[in-house]
Symmetry: C2
DNA sequence: CTTTAAAATGTTATATTATTACATACTGTT
DNA sequence: AACAGTATGTAATAATATAACATTTTAAAG
């Protein structure tokens, strides 16, 4: 019959790359990740991209599309990357995941006029963070 | 004094590239654009990217971040690219600009908890379009 | 404990997307 | 005519991402 595979644990490369992203205070790009994990034996881009793809798929990380960079998911409530929202400071480049249940519900229920059925959305807000506003 | 420059007309390259994008039924990528405009004398990537940057800046086109592709703005009411929303079919790749005043207002007024001031947002919905749902 | 399908890995090469840097020309105001 | 801002042309290269193929690991099922 169809086999069941474990869903919780990460593979070696996935774990290495997730740990790095999770510890990072800022979004990491694929080649920055590659640079840092070379000492751990991950030597080539496909290894990085494969792990990233998988981590995105299972919702452990998100891709910030406007920056081609990746952050760990801090919410447990963005159900497997179906509903993501980020705030991005245009000056200091700080990125935060916006977790607002109302917003998330509002967008998840949104139906467009042309009859599309939405499975997923990604929202990116741009502006100035608290600190950068002052300066 | 500070000079005033014209704000309405596009330069030659900008016009060529805008026309191409505007006529296209689908988002166009930079190198696809480059291919099509070579017969008009635009030969190198920087020429394309510069025109694209400018057209985005003045709100004549938008970038679909998840696809690295560009579409013409069909709304006159997304005030200079400050508030953009798109629906993207995951099967046929069709992209439409979502113009929903309520949604736009809701998101423009959204304030996050960390005190950021938002100037702009981009929202991308993914799912299946009407036609692809049937198949 | 062996077989097996799925998942993950390793590796080389290459494709795609985007920018730097610098020289030149055009545009419209003063 | 002088100028400042904008746009253009061009070559080179940087940054991001995938294709293709061989091999190995994982863990469920027999």
């Amino acid at each position: 019959m169809t086999k069941m595979y474990k869903e919780n644990s990460l593979s070696k490369n996935q774990q290495i790359i997730f740990d790095l992203i999770d510890k990072s205070p800022e979004p990491l790009k694929a080649y920055t990740i590659l640079f840092y994990v070379q000492k751990k034996g991950i030597k080539a881009p496909p290894q990085v991209y494969r792990a990233l793809d998988k981590l995105v798929e299972i919702g452990k990380i998100h891709k910030i599309e406007s920056k081609n960079a990746f952050v760990a998911c801090k919410n447990s409530n963005c159900e497997i990357s179906k509903a993501t929202a980020f705030s991005i400071c245009e000056r200091c480049e700080e990125v935060d995941e916006v977790s607002d249940t109302k917003l998330s519900k509002y967008l998840s229920k949104f139906n467009d006029k042309k009859g599309m059925t939405f499975k997923r959305f990604n929202l990116e807000f741009f502006g100035l963070c608290k600190r950068c506003k002052i300066k």
